[in-house]
Symmetry: C2
Subunit: 449 residues, 2 copies
């Protein structure tokens, strides 16, 4: 009977744990989680802060007790694994409450330590009122501030990526004055600049301020935050959220001699195995094979963490499963605007030295004559030589997620841009035009031939 | 320089005509259309009747003058082609205004005569207040009745398929009492009974009456309709819409010795060619190759008509294009309910002697904790031996069209049901759960292994 140790009790770790249990009814499964909460919907945190999700409990799929009772998993909360010994197959965990060390052996180890929000070495990041948003405790801290200090009015969001924009929306819904600062010359760098511009327009239309190409120098205050200083000015702030990115928690893996990949994520093969045979990794701490780039990438996302966790669990449980790879699909809501992308953007295509063409159209999300046909912008990127679809970006006021899923699948299956016209997609006036907007884009691309 | 004659000026015919013009700038293109209106959105008619689309003109993509000016196409409206001579390459058209015959030669002929609503040989179908809904004149007739006779209150819809249900909704929106009568033991036979049951529940919840397993015997009235008599009772009626199906207008093709296929549709190959080399057919009068059934089928739909028309036009214009086939995708809105299907239903799978399994789940259209997560029911049908996905039915209150498009593509690409879990679909709480409902269904299907 094998003993499985899992480091990290979030999406990847608990997906793996339950999957191992399904396949190995009698195995010993031990989970170490440094926080107080198991597997929850991190992506729901901005909506919890906005007040759209009433309690943190709404975001928690299962409690420790449920995992223990239903799945017979031994769970150690508030235990941080500090050391992996891959020779003797032991891990050392520190009990955060009493600083005692626990040493445990394993037959198989899964590292599912996730990622953490990047905090640059700015002065003032430790001030009261300055935080990242990554965990339920982070969210509760923000909500406590908002609750205790009714005078909080000015919120500065540093970083205009997915979480930054969702947080901007959350504070806007709460009636705060929101200022976004980003060092780049556009919001959300996973979109091409002209597509990201729609987000800036929407934010500004609804009263959120956006300052681009500004480099944060320090966060000022005395005990509590008072302002954010950039290379171009100073923004007074009652609350500051730093959301400039996520990095993998891979230090203990590195120390154990485990190979790292892009952005220092733990390098895994398609079975989620590291370079050490009985050590697996999955989720936001691991690499994510990118089907279009045909190389490992690091794009931490809840969907991928769940998939990788499940696949790791299947393999650890003695069956065989392979992670087929990501295509870089993502979607977000920014106020009334929906933004989605899949595959490569122009910058990524250039970095891979791919000779590409693009086509961009403006359409409507359903039949133009049917009421409330909303604007929809689609950009497709395709290879110049054989016209293989490389990427898609869809921005608009409804129906964006549907089109990005169609494009994600088209890219997964290596479709040519022209073949989109062959698809038997669903049509009725409340749902679509007779040619779906992605097919309309394909038709316009014919002229680029 | 070739001369092209096109019979029928609706979706397929005009798609072909404009495509030929793009490829053959100098060719002579002649269109005969028996009605008064060219290419318009037939699928929008129920919404025109409901009052959601203000005028019939909103449904018309381009006028005769626009086609003539921009595309230099010669168009004869109110001309019905009565005879095709495939030996001498001539067609004879009857000018409906003055009953004069026009005889025209062609190098290439496209038959795009569409379909017509089936009217059974019941007594009383010619009564005032009884109609089908297929054309703008049909819709205008209904609107005229409604306008002139304010006392119209009771509307009987005979047939509970796509158009019947959309018409039921339309009259309901107009505040009429609506009664649906269908001979089958379920609404919309393209769904499996338990999925179609959701539509019945929704209709009845909103006050529309549904009578199943009732065979219409006659329509009674004196001059004007008064009631519909079935084998089980009599329903008083101020207005009756017969919507029991569409059949292809293929008589002149048959007379010309052109081979017919399923349901007497004109048999075409993947290039839209009939068995006579220089005669093509496309749209609601032609067969539609079904990718899953791997045989010709007859499923008249606007999307397919547009595709086939364009492909016919490409081939007629001297290039090469192939119709890749349908998978039987369709979507409709019934009051607040959305219903969609793709691939095979159980009846179709049985007819093909395929040994299949099914899985049905109840889910939510986006993250359960995010506000307004609507109910979504998914049924998947897959081959028992190799688990290839055969069909999908999705019914719910939001996000149905997205899931059916994912399933339509999955079926197009021959995916196994288990492979749905690999897809990198878009995820954020306002759009989805971390596993898309189609992936949730795939996970449940694992237990059927």
């Amino acid at each position: 009977m094998s003993k499985y140790v899992i480091i990290g009790g979030d999406a990847a770790g608990m997906s793996a744990a339950t999957q191992i249990r399904r396949l190995q009814p009698d195995a010993e499964i031990v989970v170490f989680e440094k926080g107080e909460i198991l597997s929850y919907a991190q992506c729901g945190l901005p909506y919890y802060i906005a007040g759209l999700v009433p309690t943190a409990e709404d975001l928690i799929a299962r409690t420790k007790e449920q995992f223990e009772e239903k799945y017979k998993i031994t769970i150690h909360l508030k235990h941080e694994v500090t050391f992996i010994d891959p020779v003797s197959n032991h891990v050392t965990a520190l009990a955060l409450d009493n600083q005692e060390e626990v040493v445990t052996n394993y037959d198989y180890l899964l590292i599912a330590t996730g990622g953490e929000a990047i905090v640059p070495p700015w002065k003032g990041t430790d001030l009261d009122g300055v935080t990242v948003l990554k965990t339920i405790p982070d969210a509760n801290r923000i909500l406590k501030w908002l609750d205790e200090r009714k005078e909080i009015q000015k919120v500065v969001i540093i970083g205009g990526g997915y979480i930054g924009l969702e947080m901007a929306e959350a504070f806007h819904i709460r009636g705060k004055e929101v200022q976004i600062i980003d060092i780049a010359d556009q919001l959300n760098a996973s979109f091409d600049p002209e597509m990201a511009e729609h987000a800036k327009t929407e934010l500004e239309k609804q009263g959120i301020k956006v300052s681009l190409q500004e480099e944060v120098k320090e966060i000022k205050g005395e005990g509590r935050v008072q302002s954010v200083v950039t290379d171009k000015g100073e923004y007074s702030a009652d609350l500051v959220v730093i959301s400039i990115g996520i990095r993998p928690n891979s230090e203990i893996a590195k120390q154990a001699g485990i190979e790292l990949g892009p952005r220092n994520a733990i390098r895994v093969n398609s079975r989620m195995q590291t370079n050490i045979e009985n050590i697996y990794a999955a989720g936001d701490c691991a690499t994510h094979y990118h089907l279009v780039k045909q190389q490992d990438d690091y794009i931490p996302l809840g969907t991928t963490a769940n998939k990788q966790g499940r696949i790791a669990g299947t393999n650890l449980g003695g069956r065989n499963a392979e992670f087929k790879g990501i295509v870089g699909t993502a979607v977000m809501k920014v106020l009334d605007l929906e933004m989605a992308r899949t595959g490569l953007n122009e910058k990524e295509a250039k970095a891979l030295n791919i000779d590409y063409e693009t086509v961009t159209i403006k359409s409507r999300h359903h039949a133009t004559y049917y009421p409330n046909a909303e604007r929809l912008f689609i950009k497709l990127i395709f290879k110049k030589d054989d016209r293989t679809l490389l990427g898609g970006q869809v921005v608009g006021y409804a129906g964006v997620d549907k089109r990005i899923d169609v494009l994600a699948m088209a890219i997964t299956f290596g479709m040519k841009i022209d073949e989109l016209q062959d698809l038997d997609l669903s049509y009725a006036p409340p749902f679509n035009g007779v040619w779906d907007p992605v097919q309309q884009a394909s038709r316009v691309a014919e002229k680029v031939k």
